[in-house]
C-alpha cells in the first residue's frame, strides 16, 4: 500500500512538472485551428509547419547560433578559470579559503536584478554592450562561483599522494596538474561544464539587457520577442521552445548520473 501511494505521488509530481513542457511540445505539432480549438485539443495532428515557419520567418537558427557561441564560450572560460581557482583552494591551505568559498556562495545568491544596473554601466563604459564578449563576461561572473564550488569539492576528493607520486616520478607541478590531476578530475570538470552551459543557455535577463541588437540575441530573448504588436504566434513559440530545450534534455538525460554525483560530491565519505 505504501508503495502504491509512493508511485502515485511520483506520477503526480512528475506530471505536474512535465505538463507545461508536454503542452508546448504538443502545441508545436498542432495546426493553427487545433491551437485555438475549444474545447482544447490534446492530441495534435503532427503538423510541422510551425517548425518551418520558426526557422524561416523568425530567424531561429540565428538565435541558436548566438546561444551556442555565448553559452559555449562562457562555459569554456568559466571552467578554465574555475578549475585553476578550485585547485588552488583545495591544495594550498590558505587560512581564508573557507571564508572565500562562503563569500562566493553569498555573491552567487545576489538577485540578478540587484546587480543589473551596475553590470550594464560597466559594460557600457567598456563599450561591450551588444557584443559577444560583453554577455560572455556577464555570464562568467554569474557562473564562476558555481563552477569553483563544484570543482573545489571534486579536487578535495582526489588523494594528494597521487600528485606527490607524479612529482617524485619527474613531473613539474604544472605537468602533474595536466597529466594527472585534470584527467582524474574530468568527471567533476565535465559536470561543472554541463551545469554552467545549461545556466548560460537558459539565461534571459542579462541577455535581454545587454543584447538589444536582433542579430546577436540569444534563444530565450529571441523567443520572447516572437509576439508582434497584434499577433501571438503560439505555434512558432512552441516550436522554437521545443528546439531550444532539446540540447538541454539530451545533456541532462545522458549525463544525469554525473550531474547528481557532481552536486553531491563530498557529502558522504567514501
Amino acid at each position: 500500500m505504501k508503495r502504491l501511494f509512493f508511485s502515485l505521488g511520483v506520477i503526480l509530481i512528475g506530471t505536474f512538472s512535465l505538463l507545461p513542457f508536454l503542452w508546448f511540445v504538443l502545441t508545436s505539432w498542432k495546426d493553427p485551428t487545433e491551437i485555438t480549438a475549444i474545447p482544447p485539443q490534446i492530441i495534435p495532428s503532427f503538423h510541422w509547419g510551425f517548425y518551418r515557419s520558426a526557422l524561416d520567418k523568425y530567424g531561429l537558427l540565428g538565435y541558436i547560433r548566438n546561444s551556442a557561441v555565448v553559452a559555449g564560450a562562457a562555459t569554456l572560460i568559466s571552467i578554465a578559470i574555475g578549475s585553476l581557482a578550485a585547485y588552488a583552494l583545495s591544495r594550498f591551505h590558505f587560512s581564508w579559503s573557507r571564508l572565500y568559498l562562503m563569500l562566493l556562495l553569498c555573491v552567487s545568491m545576489f538577485p540578478q536584478i540587484a546587480i543589473a544596473g551596475p553590470v550594464w554601466r560597466i559594460l557600457n563604459h567598456l563599450g561591450w554592450l551588444n557584443t559577444y564578449h560583453g554577455i560572455v563576461a556577464a555570464y562568467i561572473s554569474l557562473s564562476l562561483p558555481l563552477a569553483i564550488w563544484i570543482l573545489t569539492t571534486f579536487f578535495k576528493e582526489l588523494p594528494y599522494e597521487i600528485e606527490e607520486a607524479a612529482l617524485v616520478d619527474g613531473c613539474t607541478p604544472l605537468q602533474a596538474l595536466w597529466k594527472v590531476v585534470f584527467p582524474l578530475a574530468a568527471p567533476g570538470i565535465f559536470t561543472a561544464s554541463i551545469l554552467v552551459f545549461i545556466h548560460a543557455w537558459n539565461e534571459f535577463f542579462f541577455a535581454l539587457l545587454i543584447l538589444t541588437y536582433p542579430g546577436l540575441q540569444t534563444l530565450p530573448v529571441g523567443i520572447a520577442l516572437f509576439p508582434g504588436e497584434y499577433t501571438m504566434p503560439w505555434g512558432e513559440i512552441a516550436a522554437a521552445s521545443t528546439i531550444a530545450t532539446l540540447p538541454l534534455i539530451f545533456l541532462t538525460l545522458v549525463f544525469q548520473r554525473r550531474i547528481v554525483r557532481g552536486l553531491s560530491a563530498g557529502a558522504v565519505k567514501g
Partner: protein, 342 residues
Amino acid sequence: MLQEISFEVADGEFCVLLGPSGCGKSTLLRLVAGLEEAASGSILIGGGRVDHLPPRERDVAFVFQNYALYPHMSVFENLAFSLRLRGLPREEIGSRVSEAARLLEIENLLSRKPQELSGGQRQRVAVGRAIVRRPKIFLFDEPLSNLDASLRAAMRVELARLHDKLGATILYVTHDQAEAMTLADKIVVLKQGEIQQIGSPSAIYHEPVNTFVATFVGSPKMNLIEGRVDDKGTILHSGGLSVDLSKVLSGRRSEYAGKSMTVGVRPEDLHPGGPGGAWVAGEVEIVEDLGSDRFVHLRCGNLELIARMPAGVPLKRGQTLNLAAEGNRLQLFYQGRRITGK
C-alpha cells in the same frame, strides 16, 4: 616535529625507520624525498646535497602507503610514466617495464587498470614503478600496512629477496617491529621526533639503550620491574618480589645501592624454576596459545609479567607458577637508560 636528526644510510643498505605513530618517521622520509621542506639542516644523497632540489631532481623513488597508482593509466603506463617524462626511447621503456614486471610477477597485469587489481597486486605495481626508475635510493612508507597479515608476511619475504637481487639502497618506514627486525640491516628507532637508537636488529633487541626501545621492540614486549636496590647493591626489591642482581651488577654495586632502578627481562628469558631457584611466583591469569608459541600472563602482587612457556609445561588459570631468569639475561635501566653492571 623532528629534533636534531642525524644518521647515515650506507650504499646498498636496508635501513628501517621504526617508531610509533606520530614519531616523525614518515616526515623524515618525505624530507628525503623533497615532499616536505626542512627548517634547517642538510640532506645528502650520493655525496651531493639535495635539500634545495625539487623531488624530480633527487633521483629517489617513493612507494606510498596507499600505493598512489595513477587510476586513469594501465599498469604498463603506470610503470612507464616516469621513463616517458625523462624522454627515454620506447625500446628502453619497454625493456625496463618488462624486466620489472618479470621480477615482480605482474607480466599478465600490464593491460589492467589499478581498480582491477587486488591489494597485493597494487603493491607490486607500486614497487615496480620504483624499480624501473633505477634510483639512487628507494623510499618505502609503510608499504605493507594496508595488506592482511598473511599477505604482509609473504610480501616481507619478497621485499627481502628484491633487496638481495637489486642490491638497492633502501630507506623503509614502519611501525611494525617484526617487519623492521626481519628486513633491516640497520634500524633507527624514533620517538616523538628524536632518535632513540641506531643499530642492527640484534643490537636493538638485545642491547636496547632505554626502556622505550626495550618495550617497543619485541613481541610480547619486555617485562619491566621497577624497584629499589638494597644497601648492598645485590637485590632489587619490588613489592613482594626480590630479584638477584649479583651477577648482572657485579662491578657497580656501591654506585647503585639504595637507588631506584628498573630490571628488564624478555618473556623468552623467563623459565619455570624450582622452589629454590625461582625468584618470582605468580598466578596464571591468561594463557595465549598461538600454536607455535605459548605466552602466559602472570600476576605477581601489583606486577604483571609475560613469559613464554614451552609446550610441555601444564598451564591453567589460577595456577601458581614459579619463574626464574638467568642473571646475565637481565637488563638494567637507571632513570630510563640502560646501564651495564660491569
